[in-house]
Symmetry: C2
Subunit: 363 residues, 2 copies
């Protein structure tokens, strides 16, 4: 059980830099051995220092979700950025994208002829400076077109002046028990089908970009040239419950204090870390809201903004009032976005503090 530094008030997000570095190096090595280009999704951390560690370990560039995130990382020296999102680009977004192309190679997502045309019209001559990947729906049924619809989108993007260089998908249906292997197979098949169709009609498709921490190490290198996992840097309770990381791989926890304690019929404690620092994500397949790293059988059964209600296992003594425990968020990406900075620790001591520079960059 790792020490929570006394100097830290609660709730505070702690990042163990040794675990973080090991996670970054392990994924980089796994992708290197498969000859898959690694383009980590930076929406998970939003922290330039972590992006620098990823690139130092061999990442080819970054993935982001918004133009605002791209701006933060470009300003911090990242030279190759993919906004993996079906952007709707009007005049203001076009001005920002044009400015970005001066600092970095910029790639965007597109999933409709209409959005491609609008983007081309707004960008004008600058469209040719931007690469576009057609988003494919590989089974998550969110954005993206079916593989057989990709030609219409790619053609519209080319007609709009964009350079169509690939296809991408997010196999988000990997986020359920027993689903990662199947989602990885769906991802490969969707990207292969779409890219084959586009190549047959003359598109120079060089990028087959897949995603997701649950599937990245399962991906077939014959079908995917690039992977975009995000969560692997920190791990979280979802990945634990999916069996995609171990408790030892958890690099980010929320230091919290026991503020209320009930040792009667309903045996529970209340922590001062609520949804405003942990995030509120609670997929139906998870066993609770968040986990306690050092008490794997305890369950957070209710989460308010500033209270986590933890039901305690009956054979384990309740922690004392005022004592501190480490909470593992269910979904780490939304937790990081709730704080201005994270406290960096090594062997239980504070060694640094990193700003969440892209916090709140939703557009």
């Amino acid at each position: 059980m790792q020490h929570i530094p006394d100097a830290v008030d609660t709730p505070t997000i702690l990042v163990d830099v040794d675990t973080l570095t090991r996670n970054i190096e392990r994924m980089a090595a796994a992708m290197r051995s498969k000859r898959i280009r690694l383009r980590p999704h930076a929406k998970t951390h939003k922290i330039p220092e972590i992006a620098a560690l990823q690139i130092e370990a061999g990442a080819a560039g970054l993935t982001v979700a918004t133009i605002g995130e791209a701006e933060v990382f470009a300003r911090n020296g990242v030279r190759d950025i993919f906004v993996a999102y079906p952007l709707w680009v009007g005049e203001r977004a076009a001005t920002r994208l044009r400015a970005l192309t001066a600092a970095a190679k910029i790639t965007v997502g597109v999933d409709s002829a209409e959005a491609a045309a609008a983007m081309g019209a707004a960008l004008g001559n600058a469209a040719g400076d931007i690469e576009a990947l057609v988003e494919i729906d590989s089974g998550h049924h969110r954005s993206g077109v079916l593989p057989e619809e990709s030609l219409a989108v790619a053609t519209a993007a080319r007609d709009a002046g964009l350079r169509v260089t690939g296809v991408f998908t997010f196999p988000g249906h990997s986020y359920a028990p027993g689903m990662p292997v199947r989602a990885a197979a769906d991802e490969s098949s969707a990207l292969l089908t779409a890219s084959t169709q586009l190549r047959d009609l003359g598109f120079d498709i060089v990028h087959l970009s897949g995603g997701s921490t649950p599937t990245a190490t399962l991906t077939e290198p014959s079908a995917v040239t690039e992977a975009r996992p995000g969560v692997y840097v920190f791990g979280d309770a979802q990945q634990l419950e999916l069996g995609r990381c171990a408790a030892d791989d958890i690099a980010l926890t929320v230091a919290s204090t026991v503020v209320s304690r009930h040792d009667g019929q309903s045996r529970r404690i209340v922590l001062d870390a609520g949804s405003k620092v942990l995030g509120g994500d609670r997929p139906a397949w998870t066993t609770g809201f968040e986990r306690l790293l050092d008490h794997p059988d305890a369950r957070i059964t209710a989460l308010s903004e500033h209270h986590a209600t933890v039901v305690w296992p009956s054979d384990d003594p309740l922690p004392a009032l005022g004592s501190r425990v480490r909470v593992v968020p269910n979904h780490v990406c939304v937790a990081v976005n709730l704080v201005d900075d994270v406290v960096v620790t090594s062997k239980g001591e504070v060694v640094d503090r990193w700003a969440v520079a892209a916090q709140g960059r939703n557009s």
Copy 2:
């Protein structure tokens, strides 16, 4: 259907100041007519301009969840603040509380003899400057003691040097269909039982403080002297589904853009507002993640960080790509905490921009 100003990028939080003002005045009038003191919970908005409107309309002071929120509102001129939370106070928190008492009348929550003793020890002589209300569990089973346990806590708080002036509860079990009336009754009964016991043993109990937007207007003035509703200023999708506000009362929406559109078998659109601006709260009893204000039959069936997937009613044409819609968060308190500022509108035009001054003040 209200206009979304062209000058606004998406996603952006819009606050309609006319609806906001009407909500504030209506709750103030309802509490005035019941002779219940109104002490709105400011964790909902975290915005000094809104606190000023509440106080101008007759609020006796504010409720907050953390010392950090109290500091922001004290700095902005609020003179009576209740931190309605079972604080665990060590040296650093004591220093901050002492500083706060110079600016405002400060009341805190306490729900254990141990926390009361720790707080008294850390505060030293300053304990006598602070009022304490004993937190009662009226059925929500989060923090708080049962009414019959309140004497031990009150006695410890008095022994620790705090001024025990009342009891408080949060009837959070009001947040489910059919529950507000029962929760309001539980609240009254718990506060009456606890306060009677404490008075019988010589405590000068002047505050019986209840909470929650669903119960505030149902509260019995004979049992409650003070109400702490928060959400009523904006309304949200939870209150709509509980029947505690109407669509016309919704003062806060998230302007968002249709970025992906699928008119096939699965008839859906995807919006650029995800959990990083809407919050991720999705209680089991709600019919979906968030609502679209102008399309009451549409349902957000999945919410990612930057995508809301909206299943569209079959007899209603899908909105065009690039068009804009207004989303009503399920739980408005967590949405506001995700942005640096909100855009204030009146009759569809931008009239101001307010900073979310207490954003992220979790401790």
